[in-house]
């Protein structure tokens, strides 16, 4: 690119950074494997230097956090489903370059209305109708929480990053208020409908979280197809690349923005529904547990490919479960284990740089001219 121009400069810099166009699949895998190995080496130095523990022992405990028994593996899959679901929800919005930082709030609102339907209609509606009502209500609540910032963005070009972020705090406060009302004379809310279990997802094949996992698998395929093969998906891409181009091509940008955010919010609402009905059976301000923000990393790292998102989600869940297992087994402070997983994450994120760019050292200039055509 700029290589030719820079060749005229007298003194060559020590290192140049050049964009790499389309690294091959084996290259990508190689870079990532090297990154993980390097991370493990740096972690080993940290673990041994600071705690004096055997790093290999720590790594095997970390592995055991997810894989030591089938129950733990099923919890990892459940958590993966939650994180992935939010990542999937964010993908359409981010692909449109609409920075939806409000997944946390959209999930909470979906969860809250699910909880309210469970509490107030749990005993009066038959199970299928109850579940349908919970689903519809959660979709509506999540979509509403996505619609509000989208409408303002579409009509007055407000800053969606700030707007969606602030909507999180509104949602958190509403949930705090409602849980305070619902807990009544107890000091905490506890599980909802404990006596009747109305609105609790049934275990399927002896597995409590089957429904959560199935729903998220379906969403993974559906959103992948929506983004890649549908006309809507194409419109989202064009609006994301350039609003002017989209307008010139006759795309109604406002409508695309609002429609996409409705979808994004609705899927977040479904996630709230899955959390309340399928996992926690209660609602609290921490029901989304910060996953709404973690999912942003998931969506970005995977470049909005929902299948790749599943892998990233798995990695993040594996790291966090491993970290809490390390702190439990070795009685380590959780800050220490956060550093261990933080280093791994840092290297993996850093490896993206080497996938997208290459370094050219001084003295390798001829090669640069070839590259910089």
């Amino acid at each position: 690119m700029s290589g030719a121009a820079e060749n005229t400069i007298k003194k060559e810099p020590l290192v140049r950074i050049v964009k790499r166009d389309g690294a091959t699949f084996p290259q990508k895998v190689a870079v990532r494997v090297v990154a993980i190995l390097l991370a493990l080496v740096v972690d080993a130095i940290f673990i041994f230097g600071v705690t004096g523990l055997n790093p290999l022992g720590v790594y095997s405990v970390m592995w055991g956090g997810t894989f030591s028994n089938p129950t733990r593996f099923s919890w990892a899959m459940r958590d993966l489903a939650t994180l992935l679901c939010i990542g999937i929800a964010l993908a359409p919005a981010f692909k449109m370059r609409f920075w939806n930082i409000g997944a946390e709030g959209q999930v909470l609102m979906g969860g809250l209305v699910t909880a309210l339907v469970m509490v107030y209609f749990g005993n009066s509606l038959p199970a299928p109708v109850l579940f349908a009502t919970m689903l519809v209500a959660s979709v509506a609540a999540g979509a509403l929480w996505g619609f509000i910032p989208a409408w303002f963005k579409a009509h007055w070009n407000t800053n969606e990053t700030l707007f969606t972020l602030m909507m999180n705090y509104v949602a958190t406060s509403i949930v705090a208020c409602m849980t305070n009302i619902m807990r009544g004379k107890a000091s905490s809310l506890g599980t909802l409908n404990k006596a009747t279990k109305a609105g609790w997802f049934p275990a399927i094949a002896g597995q409590r979280y089957t429904i959560n996992i199935i729903v998220v698998i379906v969403l993974t395929f559906a959103v992948y197809a929506y983004l890649k093969y549908s006309k809507h998906g194409y419109e989202i891409t064009v609006v994301g690349e350039s609003e002017n181009t989209a307008r010139y091509a006759g795309i109604n940008v406002r409508r695309v923005i609002i429609r996409t955010m409705l979808i994004s919010g609705a899927i977040c609402g479904i996630c709230g529904f899955l959390i309340v009905a399928g996992k926690d059976q209660t609602i609290s301000t921490t029901s989304a547990g910060g996953q709404g923000f973690t999912a942003i990393i998931v969506a970005w790292l995977a470049k909005f490919n929902t299948f790749y998102m599943a892998l990233i989600s798995f990695l993040l869940i594996f790291l966090s479960r491993g970290a809490s297992e390390i702190s439990s087994v070795y009685s380590l402070n959780e800050y220490a284990t956060d550093i261990v997983t933080g280093i791994i994450l840092f290297f993996i994120l850093g490896s993206e740089f080497f996938i997208n760019f290459r370094l050219i050292w001084r003295g390798k200039a001829p090669k640069l001219t070839k590259e910089g055509k």
Binding site: F25, N69, P70, T71, R72, F73, S74, W75, M77, L80, V119, Y120, N180, M182, R183, G184, K185, A186, S187, S188, L189, G190, T191, L192, N193, K194, A195, A205, G206, Q207, Y209, T210, I213, I217, T220, K279, D280, Q281, T282, S284, T286, S287, N305, F307, Y308, A310, L311, F314, S327, S328, S331, E334
Partner: protein, 443 residues
């Protein structure tokens, strides 16, 4: 195209793994339970070295309440010869499905007995207890174990109201000294007296429910046993642990004239705020909870009411080791060294140690009853009957729905309200004269 295909294949593999995982879990969850069962029975006869104990804690060592539990279980294990490595702790476990996960995981790791230390853990713990009948689960501070009919689900709570009463005596002695030496008069701090000349004291409470009401009433009656002319204002924070809110509540109470700040909340916020205001010239002193507050408030701290959880953990673990059944509701106090107060601060009045010793002796031999109906009134009248409905209710839809129905029993026995005898968790919820609760929690 090849790239996409590769990713698709990888994803398909990942998902088929999910599928397998789901079906595999069904059969192996049972096998996890199986190993745990055989583990538990073997443990009963085996020696302490092989016995594993699980603790699910709402906080970690940085927070007084959980610190007291962690210390208690470690002391108990050391006494009984259980190696410290056999105590598996799950810290910072929220009152959510995370508590159920933690409990199930501890079962899988072979724990014979599992304790959870926060009230809100109980609804999750009971589900796991139903699933694994051969492991004992204890919901400390919980209130429905007896109603569930499960043999392996227990509750435990100390008689903390006894030590709150004694800490009230300490505060009362201070008030007496302050008024007798002329430090505290209507001239020096006029806000601290109400229209009838009663001295104002304050209390920072976590939540408006029986556990806290029982505690602040005991504290107030302790103060009153020394200084009959006191009135108390209670302000809630709606949180068990919130340094800022507890500090703000203490400041607000002192601004309203409170001379003593008691607390039933887990942070150092209230003593710190009291210390600051004392140093700025206000007459105000602090009675803490859980931990010695002298480090936080060297001048303002009088004492703190504490739980000695090792008393319970030792009894429970010893019974579990022998394979004996634990009491469904465990509640013990001064007589069994399960509660106490911390060392007296430098600000305490002369003669406080003697007054404390007398109160403690009275509580131990039963001659002093904390909730003696002769010492308090409700709406101007002496209480003669206090029916307690033990039902565990779900309030979420507005009207109470009984999750575990319980009987209604009489709590007034021999001229005193009998606390923590009908079940371990406190149920004293009478609002007695002389105490006012603020309607709004601290902002």
């Amino acid at each position: 195209m090849k790239k996409v295909l590769g990713i698709l294949l990888a994803a398909a593999m990942a998902f088929s793994m999910v599928g397998c995982g789901a079906t595999a879990t069904a059969s192996s969850a049972a096998s996890t339970a199986g190993t745990a069962e055989s583990g538990a029975t073997a443990d009963a006869t085996a020696d302490a070295a092989n016995f594993k104990v699980g603790l699910i804690s709402i906080g970690d060592e940085t927070e007084g309440y959980s610190q007291a539990h962690i210390d208690g279980i470690k002391t108990a294990a050391a006494t009984l010869g259980i190696p410290e490595g056999n105590i598996i702790m799950k810290k910072k476990v929220e009152e959510s499905s995370a508590a159920a996960d933690a409990a199930e995981d501890l079962v899988g790791q072979g724990c014979g007995i599992i304790f959870a230390n926060s009230y809100g853990h109980q609804t999750y713990l009971v589900e796991v207890a139903e699933k694994y009948p051969d492991t004992t689960f204890v919901s400390m501070t919980g209130d429905f174990a007896a109603l569930t009919g499960l043999d392996n689900f227990k509750n435990a709570f100390t008689n903390i109201y006894e030590s709150r009463y004694v800490s009230g005596v300490v505060a009362g002695m201070k008030l007496k000294a302050l008024t007798e030496d002329g430090t505290l008069t209507t001239a020096t701090q006029p806000d601290s007296f109400d229209a009838d000349g009663n001295i104002k004291i304050g209390y920072v409470g976590a939540y408006n429910y029986a556990e806290v009401v029982s505690g602040y009433t005991a504290f107030y009656l302790g103060v009153k046993s020394v200084m009959p002319n006191v009135v108390m204002e209670v302000m809630y924070t709606n949180s068990w642990f919130d340094i800022d809110k507890e500090g703000a509540a203490a400041e607000a109470l002192i601004a309203n004239g409170a001379v003593i700040i008691g607390q039933h909340a887990d942070s150092t916020g209230a003593p710190a705020a009291t210390e600051k205001l004392l140093n700025s010239g206000k007459i105000c002193y602090s009675v803490g909870y859980n931990i010695d507050m002298r480090e936080t408030a060297p001048n303002a701290a009088l004492t703190s009411a504490t739980n000695n959880w090792s008393a319970y953990y030792t009894e429970a673990l010893s019974a579990a080791l022998k394979g004996e059944a634990l009491p469904t509701d465990w509640a013990k106090g001064y007589a069994d060294d399960a509660v106490g107060i911390t060392e007296l601060g430098t600000a305490c009045a002369a003669g406080t140690a003697e007054a404390v010793a007398a109160a403690e002796a009275g509580i131990k031999d039963g001659s002093l009853k904390v909730f003696d109906t002769a010492t308090f009134t409700v709406d101007g009248a002496t209480v003669t009957t206090a029916p307690i409905d033990l039902t565990y209710n779900d309030f979420s839809s507005g009207a109470p729905v009984a999750v575990y129905p319980g009987e209604t029993k009489e709590a007034i026995v021999d001229g005193a309200f009998s606390e923590s005898t009908l079940r371990s968790a406190p149920y004293f919820a009478l609002r007695i004269d002389g105490i006012t609760e603020d309607a709004e929690p601290v902002a």
